[in-house]
Symmetry: C2
Subunit: 225 residues, 2 copies
DNA sequence: CGGCTCCAGAATTTCGAAATTAATGCGAGG
DNA sequence: CCTCGCATTAATTTCGAAATTCTGGAGCCG
């Protein structure tokens, strides 16, 4: 269920995983230039695996590759976010309806289990709520992946993962993360309920609202700058 | 309109373009192992730009990268093709309806112009029809890109290009290419007509049939092996 | 006889530096 | 004072070889 194998055997793959995380988390700021020498020192690797990792990331649009001018972290802006939002709404509702139509009993079990696991975890560990519980975030992702995985389409899966990565970059702009644990818990519960009832239309409706709700907070930030 | 800049300034980008073409054309057979030394000789480049190009291609699923075990051209099979087909149907009809809803007059002009250019070109140059006219194929691609480009969504564009590449690999299995110039000409004409009339529903219907028609011939070949 | 280990040989991966190209700063001319 | 061109500096790109890992087969043990 994890996103990357913990221990890839090649340096290039390990650097790729770390670079991806750092771009998504915002550790490498949006739009910033990626000085190869700095990165080489930062990750303690040679030129070759570093460039290989950067080129792989450039194919996912998380970084831009400019011939003879190096690499740059992809910028974040409202126009881009609206495209991610629209693509996510369309793709995820489609995948959800497919899953509900085609998914078997084992899939339903996975969804229910993932929801139970998510429901058990607290969203915040610290009292002041400045930091999101990273376990929660991972389980949240796993839950949503599970709901969409009833009808296996590796191409759609790939698109979905890509969109999720881009979406995560925007969500990580919200610091501190907004407090809406009750609302989210309810969304997830109702979504699971609709899936178990095999009510595709209802599930898609809930999911669409869930996505739009998350988008609202992000768009406020993007418009304010 | 061309797919790749004729003269990328880095070796890595040029090798990437050539590798991509060779994978799509089938010059590098589906499923075959990509021996690095052989490729290095074939394209007359060093190890570094070659690996960078291969990693970029691996992110598009045209080649598979296996850590410590090199690279392999992605295999072709019926299950995979069905996913490409389904994804193409959904994505292209969506993009077409978006374009018809949002596209401006300049876009309509581009569509009409692209269709006129396509209609002028013959599908085959040789009398025996063993070889497709490459100009026609390029213009065919340009025409379809044009129809879908009324509402600019770079993410959807990227997905669409990816699907087109994968589709082209399957289409290139058909040797000699099937003779159906009249049918295709009619499809394109009717599609253009529906677009000019801003009839999204009709255009989507024609496009869906157009895609399925092309899929039928491919699936026959895939099932026979 | 089947399966396991170990040993070349072959392939992939990685490094460090050389070659090439872009960016910078300085001085001359308009 | 600003602009253009040139030399210098800095960065990216590329190569060739070293280091590491995989592969296939021979030999050995159960």
């Amino acid at each position: 269920m994890a996103d990357e194998p913990e221990e890839s055997s090649t340096l290039a793959s390990r650097v790729y995983a770390r670079l991806r995380q750092d771009v998504i988390a915002g550790t490498l700021p949006p739009g910033s230039k990626l000085a190869l020498d700095k990165l080489r020192a930062r990750y303690a690797v040679g030129m070759t695996p570093l460039r290989e990792a950067l080129y792989r990331l450039s194919a996912t649009l998380l970084v831009e590759a400019h011939d003879q001018r190096g690499f740059r972290v992809a910028a974040l802006n409202l126009a881009h976010f609206e495209q991610v939002l629209s693509a996510r709404e369309r793709l995820e509702t489609l995948m959800l309806e497919d899953s509900i139509r085609d998914g078997d009993a084992a899939w339903l079990d996975r969804v229910v289990a993932a929801h139970a696991a998510l429901d058990r975890l607290p969203m915040y560990t610290t009292a002041d709520a400045t930091a999101l519980n990273l376990d929660w975030r991972q389980q949240h992702q796993d839950f949503h992946y599970a709901t969409l995985s009833g009808s296996r389409h590796f191409l759609q899966d790939m698109f979905h993962r890509l969109l999720w990565d881009h979406w995560s970059r925007y969500r990580n702009l919200l610091r501190p993360p907004p407090l809406q644990e009750a609302v989210l818990k309810l969304d997830h519960a109702r979504l699971t309920e609709a899936i178990v009832a095999r009510d595709g239309e209802m599930a898609a409706l809930i999911l669409r609202r869930h996505i739009r709700h998350g988008a609202a907070a992000i768009m406020t930030v993007l418009k304010s700058t």
